[in-house]
């Protein structure tokens, strides 16, 4: 599959910085949202949308597009910012996040937001949907790929493992799961609340091709996406070690920044750090 834009690492990082600034501004303006969860996923999203995904922002329903599902739907500010920067809708719309009447709902809504494949917000459901899409692609003899991003806390949902089992049973090599492994969930560190470790062994046990990377290192991310596309006969999971709140020093690895908006002063500090 060809890379549509093939940006160099430097410009990807520059785009990521812009996306992170959007995330902070949007959540601050909205007065609520999930900055930590959004920021940890930014590099994985930027590498995917700017460098890998076969898509056309002017034709969001193009039938041959690659599909992306944000199963950890609460991280949608990052996805909205990427979609806006890619041209799915005007960047100004980002200011309306979570407001009454906005096309940008608090959690992904496929009916209001171009580029959202499925409505979400309830954890544990996205991989199953991705499996259905992957099966449809096979039935229709289409070569598009489906990517599903999950949180590491989300892996505690039993349905994820139902989907893992079924995807492996049906040998869907057109399906790729991406784990945003920031080691945090709402109530604390993953290993304290409900350890999902060892994550790679579990996926291997379920028959998935397993790739482990640093989720903020662009060469590794891009290589992982490329390698996943080469795997035949089984689905691939990319387990990306990330830092929750990545890019804003006082948010990094802090459980409290899972789901609260920064104050005016915190917003300014964050934006200074993200000033490039």
């Amino acid at each position: 599959m060809k890379n549509l834009q093939n940006l160099d690492i430097k410009s990807l990082e520059e785009h990521a910085r812009i996306i992170r600034r959007h995330v902070i501004r949007m959540i601050a303006k909205a007065g609520s949202g999930h900055p930590g969860s959004s920021l940890s996923a930014v590099d994985l999203l930027v590498a995917l949308f700017y460098n890998k995904l076969r898509h056309n922002p002017r034709l969001p329903k193009w039938s041959d597009r690659d599909r992306f599902i944000l199963s950890k739907g609460h991280g949608c500010p990052a996805l909205y910012a990427v979609l806006a920067e890619q041209g799915y809708f005007p960047v100004e719309k980002l200011d309306t996040l979570r407001q009454f009447g906005s096309t940008l709902q608090g959690h992904p809504c496929m009916k209001t937001t171009p580029g959202i494949e499925i409505s979400g917000g309830s954890l544990g459901q996205g991989l199953s949907v991705g499996l259905g899409i992957a099966l449809a692609a096979r039935l229709d003899k289409k070569d598009y790929r489906t990517y599903v991003m999950l949180g590491d806390g989300e892996l505690e949902e039993g349905q994820v493992w139902e989907a893992a089992m079924a995807a492996s049973h049906y040998n869907v090599d057109n399906l790729c799961a991406i784990i945003d492994q920031n080691d945090l969930q709402i109530d604390g560190f993953i290993h304290e609340v409900m350890s999902s470790h060892p994550i790679p062994d579990k996926w291997r046990g379920f028959g998935w091709h397993t790739i482990e990377i640093d989720g903020h290192d662009y060469p590794s991310i891009i290589k992982a996406y490329d390698d996943a596309g080469e795997v035949k006969g089984r689905p691939t999971v990319i387990i990306a070690k990330t830092i929750k709140g990545k890019g804003v020093s006082f948010m990094e690895n802090q459980v409290d920044w899972h789901g609260k908006a920064p104050t005016k002063e915190e917003t300014e500090r964050a934006l200074v750090e993200l000033n490039g």
Partner: protein
């Protein structure tokens, strides 16, 4: 003798016929395909049939994914597992996304019989009708089931069809109309209207005949679509008789009776009696014994009709 066929049998046959015509139909089941009869489709169209194992939540969302790509996705299991285990998947992914998923669940009601309460789903009408945008249908016999499944295929959006395990009498004819959301009036009388769905429609007809001998003439409405309810027909019928009995194989809470009562109380309050299961679980036993135990027989409908008529005169 009236022919006896389980609605689930008609479902499997309908799927095979429809699958022939419509290549977008896919069917998913969760290790109950022999009982739900989707195995017939699986045998005929193996590439469009997905056994998802004993994992209903995943099955529901896999169907959502297939539907998101233009497939007409039929999902089947027993009612309790399809609507209970996967409720939130239905609510948050299927309905909220407005996807073309058809949940056709069998083994509803106490007529499941010997398997007992765990397998007798008497809450599914409530669970499904309460979700915004959901359409809910309970056909009364095998012929109507085929029509409902055909209509479901043409209908765009999420839809639930409630089927049973036990054989039930065939009481409709091939030429009878079936339109989603349009009730069928099976009989008209001047004294009371019996509004029924599913297996209770046959009992309502039997009850009406007995009532007639006692000088009470009943209208019988087959309310095959529980949501959206055909308010127009309901009000039109009720205004002629001013007394109502509802009848369903379901808990009284938030089933057909509750919905009918809610429409009538707001638009045209009249005495109403309800046949249904009153705050109890089912249990093992043959369907006829259970129908007696849970007061779902024609004699129960007759008693309720007389009571409703009596209240009218007060």
């Amino acid at each position: 003798m009236t022919e006896m066929i389980a609605t689930r049998q008609a479902y499997g046959e309908a799927l095979v016929e429809l699958g022939e015509q419509n290549k977008d139909i896919v069917v998913l089941d969760a290790d109950l395909s022999k009982s739900t009869t989707t195995a017939k489709f699986g045998k005929k169209f193996p590439e469009r049939f997905f056994n998802m194992g004993v994992a209903e939540a995943n099955m529901m969302n896999t169907a959502a994914g297939l539907a998101a790509c233009g497939k007409v996705a039929f999902v089947s299991s027993f009612s309790i597992f399809a609507t209970g285990r996967a409720w939130e998947q239905i609510r948050n992914t299927v309905c909220y996304s407005g996807l073309n998923v058809k949940i056709v669940a069998t083994h509803s009601g106490v007529s499941v019989g010997p398997d007992g309460a765990s397998h007798q789903c008497i809450e599914d009408l409530s669970l499904m009708q309460v979700i915004p945008t959901m359409t809910v249908i309970e056909p009364c016999d095998a012929i109507e089931t085929k029509k409902a499944v055909t209509a479901a295929t043409r209908y765009q959006g999420p839809l639930y069809i409630r089927l049973g395990r036990a054989a039930v009498p065939v009481i409709t004819r091939r030429e009878d109309p079936f339109v989603i959301g349009k009730a069928n009036i099976l009989r008209t009388g001047r004294d009371v209207a019996i509004i029924a769905c599913g297996a209770l429609v046959a009992n309502a007809l039997t009850a009406a005949e007995v009532l007639s001998k006692d000088g009470i003439e009943a209208t019988v409405v087959n309310m095959h679509t529980i949501k959206p309810l055909d308010k127009e027909t309901l009000l039109q019928v009720v205004k002629q008789v001013n007394a109502v009995v509802t009848a369903e194989q379901h808990v009284l809470d938030c089933g057909l009776g509750s919905i009918v009562a809610s429409v009538l109380s707001r638009n045209y309050p009249v005495p109403i009696e309800m046949i249904g299961i009153d705050n109890r679980f089912g249990q093992s036993g043959e369907p006829d014994i259970l129908f007696k135990e849970y007061h779902l027989l024609p004699e129960d409908i007759i008693r309720a009709a007389k009571k409703a008529v009596g209240r009218k005169k007060q």
